[in-house]
């Protein structure tokens, strides 16, 4: 069959191209322009070259914020991924009332806006009126997330786990549901233990969705802003000042647009690198699976 060559389809891409240019490429170009200049507003700029990049690369404040950010992301991934798999494995397998109920209950935290989540936990953790704070205080535990950095970290991590483990659960549950029964029947014939079924059937089969879950949770947690900002405002001191909070402080609070632009470009490059690595792993694991 002779195929006709029609290049008109390229025009279909044009609206997306314009939209991406308007919402991403032009702002990114502006950030690059700002990163090599100093400005005091009124569109007046002074060339500084790569000075802001050098300053940020050697800034102790940025190193601290990056360490806190990396620690936060590592902790929540170490908790949310195993917990999400565990919950998904224990949800009802057959379609019916209980599985639907479980899915709705699990999905509920995902429907709550981020600033509301921060507010909920801000009240929940208060020693005077919050259930969590008051209960812990009644047990004699010294818990005050506004004054104690350990308590602030504990609250933020629990809040993130409460908010986002559901995403991992839903993705893993979808992956588990797609495993044909024949695999389980074969495992039963071989008298495979529960652990072996998980290790050799379930885990390899959910590898693809698990990588998506890790990628999504990595990106989201590495860019986290609203929830800790509402809950602790980055405090006590700088104990919960993560990269994005520090970036906003620098750009809007101090109006240091040049260093903030250089900082955000490095931040962007870091996320781009990790996302690309995950994406490549994901695509390759799919290729191997098929």
């Amino acid at each position: 069959m002779k195929k006709t060559l029609n290049q008109k389809a390229w025009f279909m891409v044009l609206p997306v191209l314009l939209l991406v240019a308007f919402s991403a490429i032009i702002p990114l170009m502006t950030v690059v322009n700002y990163s090599v200049q100093d400005t005091f507003g009124n569109n007046e700029f002074f060339w500084v070259g790569l000075e802001w990049f050098e300053e940020i690369l050697h800034s102790e404040r940025m190193h601290d914020a990056l360490s806190r950010q990396a620690m936060f992301t590592a902790i929540i991934l170490l908790i949310e991924i195993p917990l999400g798999i565990f919950v998904a494995l224990h949800m009802p397998k057959n379609k019916g009332f209980w599985s639907s109920l479980c899915l709705v209950l699990v999905a509920l935290p995902l429907l709550i806006p981020w600033n509301v989540v921060g507010t909920i936990w801000q009240v929940f953790g208060r020693v005077d009126i919050g259930l969590l704070g008051h209960s812990l205080a009644s047990l004699g535990i010294d818990y005050n997330y506004t004054q104690n950095s350990t308590a602030a970290w504990f609250t933020i991590i629990i809040m993130d786990v409460w908010h986002w483990t559901s995403l991992v659960v839903l993705l893993c549950y979808a992956g588990l549901q797609s495993i044909p029964d024949a695999y389980y029947q074969a495992a039963k014939i071989d008298q495979a233990s529960r652990w072996n079924v998980f290790r050799h059937i379930q885990l390899p089969k959910i590898k693809g969705v698990l990588l998506i879950a890790i990628l999504l949770r990595f990106m989201d947690s590495f860019m986290i802003y609203t929830e800790p900002f509402v809950l602790t405002g980055g405090g006590p001191g700088n104990a919960t000042t993560f990269l994005s909070i520090d970036l906003v402080k620098m750009a809007i609070g101090q109006f240091d647009l040049g260093p903030a632009a250089a900082f955000s470009l490095m931040y962007f490059l870091g996320i781009l690198l990790v996302s690309y690595v995950f994406y490549t792993l994901m695509v390759n694991s799919e290729g191997q699976g098929s």
Binding site: I26, M29, T30, V32, N33, Y34, V36, Q37, T39, N43, F45, W47, G49, L50, E51, F53, E54, L57, H58, M266, L269, L272, L273, Y276, T280, V283, N284, G287
Partner: protein, 92 residues
């Protein structure tokens, strides 16, 4: 249209024009001599576009590393980036 709010400078304009030219050349190369994805030393299939992306991303990190250890100017880093990009296109 007034683009003064974007704070354009000659070096950043040259930087973006260079990226645009690189993309344009890749498109022309792709049309003139289409290439199938191939597996290199990283053991995953890459198209020339992927290799350009890996080159650019890696080059950004080489420049940042140079700035962190040696400071400006970046001529040495640019030479390293060029060697890196050629290696990526040859072996990745």
């Amino acid at each position: 249209m007034d683009f003064s709010w974007m704070g354009w400078t000659t070096p950043t304009a040259i930087f973006f024009i260079a990226i645009a030219i690189a993309l344009l050349l890749m498109i022309i190369w792709g049309v003139v001599a289409p290439q199938a994805p191939r597996r290199g030393i990283l053991q995953f299939a890459t198209t020339p576009g992927d290799r350009l992306f890996i080159s650019m991303l890696g080059s950004a990190f080489i420049c940042l590393g140079w700035l962190a250890f040696f400071g400006a100017p970046l001529w040495g880093a640019l030479l390293l980036c060029l060697i890196y990009a050629v290696s990526v296109f040859k072996w990745v």
